[in-house]
Symmetry: C2
Subunit: 338 residues, 2 copies
Amino acid sequence: LLAAWKHLALPCADASIILAVSGGADSTAMLLAIHELIESRRLQINPVVAHLDHSLRRESKADAIWVRKLAEKLGYQSEHKRVDVGKLAETTGDNLEQAARRARYDFLLRSAAKRTAGVILTAHTLDDQAETVLLRLLRGSGADGLAGIEPLRRASPASDILLARPLVTWARRSDTEEYCRQRKIEYRSDPMNEDEQFDRVRVRRQLIPLMESFNPKTIETLARTAELLRDELDVLNTMADLLLKKASDRVKGDTTVPALDVRVMAEAPIAVRRRALRQWISAARGDLRRCELAHIKGIEKLLSGEQGGRVAELPAGDKVMRKRSRIEFVVKKHLKSR
Amino acid sequence: LLAAWKHLALPCADASIILAVSGGADSTAMLLAIHELIESRRLQINPVVAHLDHSLRRESKADAIWVRKLAEKLGYQSEHKRVDVGKLAETTGDNLEQAARRARYDFLLRSAAKRTAGVILTAHTLDDQAETVLLRLLRGSGADGLAGIEPLRRASPASDILLARPLVTWARRSDTEEYCRQRKIEYRSDPMNEDEQFDRVRVRRQLIPLMESFNPKTIETLARTAELLRDELDVLNTMADLLLKKASDRVKGDTTVPALDVRVMAEAPIAVRRRALRQWISAARGDLRRCELAHIKGIEKLLSGEQGGRVAELPAGDKVMRKRSRIEFVVKKHLKSR
């Protein structure tokens, strides 16, 4: 853990750090291991345990109490919140997993802001990485999806808060279970992790075992593939950054993001242009929610000057407009505050 | 087929084209469809049917005769050869599939040279693409592997002969079977396609059906992912080309490939540098056989000037040597003729 900690350049002293702890083996092991490093003075940080009760199971209250007591026993402060994720999913139209994820990261970010913590740690493992790569492969995402869970990234493009996964490049889920057992801590089990109505559970219990009959090192192999793709994407993302800079240097706009020069964008290689357009949209809207390839292609039509008008529609009422030799981003007014 | 033909910019007239025909549904359908396009004068090409008998099954002689007769019936010339792939595999240490593939492409290239054909067509389908992507995922190849079968590529980096797969972006295997049935042609069946001792067969019969229980469009989704990765790789390959050019412009060498400037290579982003080194090795040796990440890392050590000497070993006795501010490729002498 300490090696991964240093590799990610996480703060070793004088810093509050949020630890996302569900009470499962992964996050409990992460908490215990960090505690060990603090006890042996190899880390001098102030961990704050954060637990969100998703209200999806009867036992979730007991889990929350268990996590709070464990944090107290170790001498750490904690942040707790209860959210009705079921209701949230109904309201937003997200599925349960999406709604839970959104509520969780929202809570973690608020906790970080409240505690002036610059880093949030989650306990994703190599197994989570492999499952994520396969789920994204099944859903058809490109290189970005297959690059999997990033060991370190900003919470959002504009945020100063870092999300770090110090276990994701090396620890198997079974390692975390074994670690908890050795320390005689009975971690909590989430029955939803056994419920095969969730794709992730079926990937874990059916798809990965079948793949292991081809290659016993499937988990490690998938994690390594994700790592290779991340290296490749770093290069492409840098090129996309440079393209956006080049395209926006030449023109001035009064929109939330700079207008882009049509010729510069049109001449770029397709993979770089699309990546740059996604970055541009993400910067303007805050995220890429519901933004599909079709929307990007719509903007590309504006660039090539093909028939199809001067406006490309984006989800949620946002628009991209072509004005002479540039394209401008138009955010739908009443959504600006979202 | 004609749409794919035009998209790949394959010659529509005055050209000899090698068609690789095993006698299976895929290649038989491709042959019949091309025949239809010739009959209706939408193509004015001279197809040469090429069939390699791998001697792996008792029925393989009958397959060869069947293909020869079909070609004759349609009025096309054909190229035939018989190779004992089993023995070849024993001699070279390749597995059966590798040896078969190597023998087949060798035969196709010789046929193309003999017939002065600039293009070789193979009948890979969407299903082949998906299977290839999964096999490579299982074996742990990076983006290049996952990019799958290229619809069009040079037979080798230095070759003028093109390998084209006009079915691979759109035709399902079942489409080719149905097409043969409609034309009342009883294509040949290869029992090795049902033999679950081959990973490819188990991918087809076990892994893909399980994945289809998550996403019924798994085949199309995997093929689309491969296409997205190919777009990304085009950009990276172009960058690697430019890097090699930049690094080799400055220095002169008397080796098979230009020596490379150490500083220029060391400063490049890792994914581009590794890609460039692979291209450089491939140009010097003719291929990347048995060249692993460890070999590339060995060369990178020469670049960074770390301890570990002035020489990086490559498979088969080839070497890379650092001489002052550049690295040179040294091909093992007696292998030059391979």
